[in-house]
């Protein structure tokens, strides 16, 4: 099969994923998981290289367009969790379209970074792999320390006494720590005694992530009776080159970090990128989140095609690696070219579908949109993971509501991954699971 055909298949994947990405909470990994399971049937239609290119196009499309449910429906995936708050705020200021496009511009910056780095990615990744792979445990522990220590009080400036102010400040900080610990506990339960059937174990995290990140935001919108004003379709982007560069640089660092390290997710990349751009200006932050998400998803998958390395980072590569190994070194450069084309195509699709989303929320009452989104989220959990999934989603939602109630950081929900994985790497995971009665 020639290069052009492979690129065309990738573009088809992008178009397919762009449509799927509009369905709130439907993560591309869930779809790909089912595709991999039915790879035998697909083999009559697509050869392995073609399947890989289709998945490449799909992840590019998803990385770009999953912004739409995050901003317009407040239903993000884990890697886009930090875009929701500024996104919703801009939506209420009639600037939802600008927020979506800025995220897309951030993703395009991420695309440029990946293209620029692609010639040196092989040697650099090989070096980093050798140097850093023995150090993953303490690096995760360091992320936890930073996550807990870098949350600053948002209240406590008023009070009759020093202690009263201190208590007010630490109510929010304590809620953050509580969120982190409860998420970690939930992570332990999922890891050691999941109620999701083993045959669909790859969907294990879906109900937890939806409960932690998506359902609480939709519920808050419903409870608060959020009404979205008529949106303004801007004809230009309101950002300076300096802010764009700052957001893209921070997003690239966060995204590359998350893409390279196994078990480090896009949410952590977004967290680091967000912290590095903790400026007054939200535009830079939004760009950083777009860049980080794109670099995490697409960059992580690109590592799988590196000649001689074939690093399986991220869910997509992990699933594909079970049935496929890139056949030739030349394929890597085809993949880079396809990624570039799909990235541009998906950006234009983002513009198109953002306008369609705006038409939808302009015509339909936002409460109805939120109710339908909530029904979709719950249905998806039930369809993919059954009652067991709902049993996970309910406590996850309760934990995910804590940040909304106390004004603490939502990123503390990442304890669901960080705590069990770090403790496992420290060799203490099994002991703690035993103490908790999980094994």
């Amino acid at each position: 099969m020639d290069t052009l055909s492979l690129v065309l298949i990738a573009v088809l994947g992008t178009i397919l994923a762009s449509i799927l990405a509009l369905i709130p909470a439907l993560h591309i990994y869930n779809v790909v998981g089912l595709m991999i399971l039915s790879a035998g049937a697909l083999s009559s239609v697509l050869n392995p290289d073609q399947l890989a290119m289709l998945l490449l196009g799909m992840i590019v499309g998803y990385a770009m367009l999953s912004t739409i449910p995050s901003i317009f429906l407040a239903a993000p995936d884990e890697a886009a969790a930090f875009i929701v708050l500024p996104g919703q705020k801009w939506l209420l200021e009639r600037r939802g379209y600008e927020a979506a496009i800025l995220t897309g511009v951030g993703a395009l910056c991420g695309l440029v970074v990946l293209i620029v780095l692609s010639p040196i990615a092989g040697e650099t990744s090989r070096l980093l792999q050798i140097i850093l792979s023995p150090h993953l445990g303490w690096i995760l522990a360091t992320i936890i320390v930073f996550m807990l220590m870098s949350e600053w009080p948002k209240s406590g400036d008023r009070g009759v006494s020093g202690w009263a102010r201190f208590r007010a400040a630490w109510t929010g900080l304590g809620a953050g720590i509580l969120t982190f610990l409860l998420s970690g506990l939930l992570g332990f339960i999922i890891m050691y005694r999941s109620v999701v059937p083993t045959e669909i174990a790859f969907q294990n995290l879906l109900p937890a992530f939806l409960g932690l990140f998506a359902i609480p935001m939709v519920l808050v919108n419903l409870i608060m009776g959020t009404q979205v004003p008529k949106q303004h379709i801007a004809t230009s982007i309101d950002i300076t080159p300096g802010l764009l560069f700052r957001g893209a640089a921070a997003g690239s660092m966060g995204g590359l970090f998350a893409a390279f390290f196994p078990v480090v997710t896009g949410g952590i990349g977004g967290f680091l990128a967000g912290h590095a751009t903790a400026q007054r200006d939200e535009r830079s932050f939004i760009v950083s989140q777009g860049t980080s998400k794109f670099v995490y998803y697409v960059g992580g998958f690109l590592l799988f095609f590196l000649p001689g390395l074939h690093l399986a980072r991220g869910g997509m590569a992990a699933m594909l690696s079970t049935i496929y190994t890139p056949s030739t070194p030349e394929l890597y450069f085809t993949v880079v070219a396809a990624m570039a084309i799909c990235g541009v195509v998906s950006f234009f699709l983002l513009i198109l579908f953002s306008r369609l989303a705006i038409k939808l929320i302009d015509r339909i009452d936002y409460r109805t949109v939120s109710v339908v989104t909530l029904i979709l989220l719950i249905s998806l959990i039930f369809i993919t993971t059954g009652l067991g999934g709902l049993l996970i989603a309910i406590p996850a939602t309760a934990i995910g509501l804590i940040p909304s109630l106390f004004g603490s950081r939502r990123m503390n929900c990442l304890g669901i991954l960080l705590i069990p994985i770090t403790l496992n790497m420290a060799g203490a995971g099994a002991s703690i699971a035993h103490v908790l009665g999980l094994i």
Binding site: K89, E93, L127, L128, I130, I131, L132, P134, H135, G137, W138, A141, T142, I144, V145, F146, M149, S150, W152, P153, K154, G156, D157, R158, G159, G162, W163, R165, F166, A169, W170, L173, R246, A249, L272, H275, A276, A278, Q279, R280, D281, E282, M425, A426, G427
Partner: protein, 336 residues
Amino acid sequence: MKGISHFLAGVAAATFVPGVVANAVNGSFLIALGGFFGILPDTIDFKFTRYFDKAEAIDPDPANLDPQWIADQLAASIDRAGETNRAVRVQLHSIKLGTDRWRQYTVRFDSDRNEVAVRIGPIVNTSQMPYPDTEIAGLKTARAPLKSEMVYTYDADMNVDIFSGPSFAFVPKPHGVEVQFLPWHREWSHSLTLAAFLGLLVALIGQSAQAGMVAGFGMAAHILEDQLGYLGSNLFWPFTKDRSAGLKLIHSGDAIPNFLAVWTALCLILFNLDRFSAPVQHRSIMLEPVSFLVLALIVPYVILLSQYVIGKRKQHMRVEAARQADLVAELQETEV
């Protein structure tokens, strides 16, 4: 500097402690302790000390916005400090109107006219972006003249808007009442003496000289990093009483110095992991020191610092004003 800069400086400092990296390969998490102590000084100030600072509150009423009242309150506090010859501390509160709506007001300590001026501004969001058409028409700048001589060299207006407002100490000095920003910040918590003491304490508690060095060096890295700016810290508390002047090389809130601090720390961490991970006899270093340091550090430094210096030359800010601007930037950064 930003929290992430301090944190990574602490982690980087930890990787220089002999044996720490090699132990990390075997499962030790001691390096994370460097990050903890790297961010600890600001944690002490912004999560503990500030709440126990005894300051008089100036809390404007959102329903009855009166710039004259704010100006009079500030002027009275400054005069009282001058008359009683005792320092007076004041906390200016922000005016919160909703979840993402704050009424901005601007304070100017005008030393040329020896007065305090206050102007009520627009409603802003938490990103400090003003909502259109929210200025209050007809509300003029209020001025309150001072009886005591005021020493204040910060020549920019100070906006009070989101989260907590700034606090001040009005300190009587022979030449007049000096206006000091955030009097509770970078005092005892930013002391090299305290870093040495805590390092010793950690060593004793953990029965590990290595842990003590990681803690002490991590905290010292924060303090020394802050010293690059204009304000500096109370370096040898309890032996010194006041914050010393910094080296005046950077401003703590500037993007380029913060990026370079993060980048330098990451490069040093990588460099040290490469050098120290394996036992001495089995070491095969992958990063050739000269080319790595030139490519990873010197080239970005030359490019970004030259851009930074050119940008700075366009700004003319007096040293004292820059010191106070440093503090304001730090307050704003940590509130995010």
